[in-house]
Amino acid sequence: MSQYRLEIRVKPRPGLLDPQGKAIHHSLNSLGWSGVADVRVGKAIYIDLEADSPEAARAAAEEMCRKLLANPVTEDYEVALEQEAAAS
């Protein structure tokens, strides 16, 4: 068993109105960043997990996303294996 750190990024699905992103977009524009074309707000979830292999860690994270961390109606997710802690 090794210790893995996973970063799970949950984002609003394309096409879904993201009022939070819109408000931030307006603020950035008014601060002078006129080139900002779009802003979407998602969230990142960091999970420390013990697993047999990087593949197993990733598979577990995918299942967590499907069952709890993301809502398939409104959100997409990405799983990134951030680091593998030094094997003890």
């Binding site: 609003p12 879904l16 009022p19 939070q20 408000a23 709890l68 809502n71 109606v73 409104t74």
Partner: protein
Amino acid sequence: MKVAVITFPGSNCDHDLYKAAQQVGGDASFVWHRERGLDGFDVVLLPGGFSYGDYLRPGAIARMSPIMEDVTAFANSGGPVLGICNGFQILCEAGLLPGALVRNSVLKFRSHDVRLRVERADTLFTSAYQAGQIIRVPIAHGDGNYEADEETLKALEAEGRVVFRYVDRNGEAVESANPNGSWHNIAGIVNEAGNVLGMMPHPERAMEDILGSTDGVGVFTSMMNSLSTAAA
């Protein structure tokens, strides 16, 4: 009518629901979310509030509560289930109703009375109303914007599963009457079988004149009547 009012950590409309059920002659009990079993109950009510502080997504954690397995079984066996506000969000997260409730398009928490058009008077929950009737009940939510994929939305309309819609004083579902950006001004929907209703507005807060409206009473008398008809 034996009524279960499920209480989650963070529910805050459970006492209103309890009282609403009693007002129409129901025999109400609180059921804590960690309890198991709904045997003997005729109706299950999921209250509004902020279960688990709306962490992750509204309703996402509550739907993992032990009692939700029993609520799902109860609903699947045809038992009437009504979820209001956070209860609606929990029903969507649990997959008992399609779609999801996301942040209000205005980014504001909306707390005021709205007008609803009762789209159908032939459901377990609306038989005390007339189809097309306009009722006035309060809303109080930050995440009431109903969203679903296009296929689901089409099916909801085609199958007449939109039960309540936000409307203006003329009964028109115009954009200015939509408090949260919900698709087609949807305020409440039923599942395919018609025994599970989710709605964002609070009929349980419109039960007495002193509360400003009694238009919510019909939801509870409808359930009462449908059950006594079924029993007769």
